[in-house]
Symmetry: C2
Subunit: 402 residues, 2 copies
């Protein structure tokens, strides 16, 4: 199950960034599961990684390699997360980098490894290594669509976003892909995301742009509150457009970058495990951003709210109960207003006098649901995107791995 | 669905504490749904209530009445929570107290109201008021079993616990009932719990005992992380046994009281919505209790861990991922050890070398599962009880109310 359109968008190539995908038979014979991305010399690269203490071996290695060299290749496999694999996992990740480095004639530190899939199984190294030449042979600036498919796990569809915008005399392209469907509550990034631009940027600005866009997108989604061990998001600027992003043009770039990031993040929620609803939880009138997020996430992660959404049931009592346990200081419940898809449901600590059960039922029918909470005690607001909790979510996660 | 035995225990009456149950037709005609409890004069009474900001009208009134008078009656209805009902809800709760007070010839402040059931609907006052005389007519010290049934909502079985112990020359009886199945993560108490003893205690000691026993029981359970708007637990000491509990005999009393509380709290988990597993999450070797609880609750509330439990799948990678996102400071993942029902599963950040998939599969088959996490960095330990997340949980909560 998934919500929204399953049409894959037009992907504008980014000059200086190539993608090659192959089938290495990591877990399922015949499916695309190994992706190599090549970064032209002179590019700048920024990355954000999971804050899970049990981070996967490739995440550990990514951080080490980024600290010591300029990345030239990104190597991604699906079917196996190489997480919970201890020393052996680090050894396997490094060996993968070395194999690609040898084939490409560079240093192993210039390769960043990424893995996604089952936790706790050793990487099938012979199959993975045997697949690398095939992926290299397929490298192309047109390779986005194949790569978007080659990084999926329980996802039901590839996820991409792409745009071009005018900047001064030139034009900037931003194109990216993401994957993720379950174990989704990114904390710095999504499960996996790769975004490239042909803008020219120094490393400091690139990192700042990555952080800003991530905080509006991948750090605002939750399927099941489970932060992955492998979350990684990479942003590459090849500079081939000749458009230099400086402090003056920075805001415009971040705005456009955020559009791509939000589309990729929302695509993960639309394809959330068992999703039948796409839910925007909007909290307004909070004292600060932290408070708005606390309320938004408590609603978005409440099993009782999520099962009511599955049933298209305007069970607003469960939403009030979630607000009430979000840990706000001195909350005056009489100021709180709650709307579902623009229908005012509750105020003054009770059902709104204008509310009818029919209006509530009708508001819950669409696939896309806005839950709007006005706390009416400050100026801060935040939006978090989430899914419902369906039978299908339980089926997928009870059956996965076994 | 539920786990463990469904046999209701022998309930020792508590002299000075009577219970009367009737069917008032609050929600479902013919089912027991109205319970009156009568507290003999001279008793001491202690209560703990939900910390949900959207607490229900009866909770607000309970706190007011306990501050101003000595409770003589507890009035409980099921089928309607009288929560999210604003001013009207407070008015209705007070009117219920007044009706019972008039019938019994006491002040309204001496009545404490409790409601459980659907949130956000007004109480059906005529039916509730009409039921009070019938409940009063049934008052009896033998009334525990009927009352245990008369407070249920989505529970599939009544919940009781009772014991007697020798104290000096005398004997103390402790008997109680509880209810709750979903929206269970009490924060000071369970959905509803009533425990009476014939011990004689002053109010200060009674409150202290209530807090200590609650923190080992009702404050250590979670079905779905959703703290209810109506959580309340009452402890009544009638003093009729003639055994005075003082500072010297206090520890023994708390020990016995905790046995009753833990049995009542675990009964809620065994009857958790859709439960097919009874899961004890035991965290040892933590720096402090807060850290042990953070890890235990992150595991107990992870949808991915809970769906793996439903599938009897030893998916330990999901448990490691939960530990890793519990927010511990400077966690050395190489020190963490994980066992499932005494089978060592993971250590050194990876699968234990002694582990076999067969042993893991076998460990997950029983209805009762112990998840033991040794952090090996301190002396604190905590245990939290929870359920799995099954199709049945989704069905119950998608269908409830609609």
């Amino acid at each position: 199950m998934a919500t929204g359109s399953d049409q894959f968008p037009t992907m504008y190539p980014v000059s200086g960034f190539k993608l090659g995908t192959t089938s290495a038979g990591i877990k399922t014979p015949g499916r695309a599961d190994l992706v190599v991305m090549e970064i032209a010399a002179g590019s700048t690269v920024a990355g954000l990684f999971t804050q899970n203490d049990f981070c996967a071996a490739p995440v550990t290695l990514c951080k080490q390699h980024m600290a010591s060299a300029s990345p030239a290749y990104l190597l991604t496999n699906t079917g196996n997360a190489n997480a919970g694999t201890g020393e052996q996992g680090l050894h396997d990740a490094l060996q993968s980098c070395q194999a690609l480095a040898t084939a490409a004639g560079i240093d192993a530190e210039q390769v960043l490894p990424f893995s996604t899939g089952v936790i706790g199984e050793p990487l099938p190294m012979d199959r993975l290594l045997a697949g690398i030449p095939g992926a290299l042979a397929n490298l192309s600036e047109q390779g986005w669509s194949d790569a978007a498919t080659g990084i999926l796990t329980t996802d039901t569809r590839p996820k991409g976003a792409s745009l071009q915008y005018a900047a001064g005399d030139g034009q900037v392209t931003i194109t990216g892909i993401s994957k993720g469907s379950g174990m989704i509550k990114p904390n710095m990034a999504t499960m996996l995301g790769y975004v490239a631009t042909d803008a020219e940027m120094n490393s400091e600005l690139l990192h700042r742009a990555l952080r800003l866009a991530t905080n509006k997108s991948f750090n605002r989604i939750t399927v099941d509150a489970d932060t992955s061990t492998n979350d990684s998001i990479m942003l590459v600027a090849t500079g081939t457009s000749g458009v230099l992003i400086d402090e003056i043009s920075f805001d415009q770039f971040v705005e456009q970058l955020s559009l791509v990031f939000i589309e990729l993040a929302q695509a993960i929620i639309r394809d959330g495990e068992g999703a039948t609803k796409f839910v925007s939880v909007i909290v307004e009138g909070a004292v600060d951003s932290a408070e708005a997020l606390a309320v938004a996430y408590t609603i978005a992660e409440s099993p009782l709210v999520k099962t009511a959404l599955t049933a298209s049931d305007p069970n607003w009592g469960r939403i009030l109960a979630a607000i009430g346990r979000a840990g706000l200081k001195d909350l005056d419940v009489n100021l709180v207003q709650l709307s579902l898809n623009s229908v005012l449901i509750a105020e003054q600590g009770a059902r709104a006098s204008s509310y009818t059960e029919e209006a509530g039922q009708q508001a819950m029918q669409p696939e896309d649901i806005d839950i709007l909470v006005s706390l009416n005690r400050g100026q801060a607001s935040e939006t978090v995107w989430t899914t419902d909790l369906s039978y299908e979510y339980v089926r997928i996660n009870a059956e996965y791995r076994t």
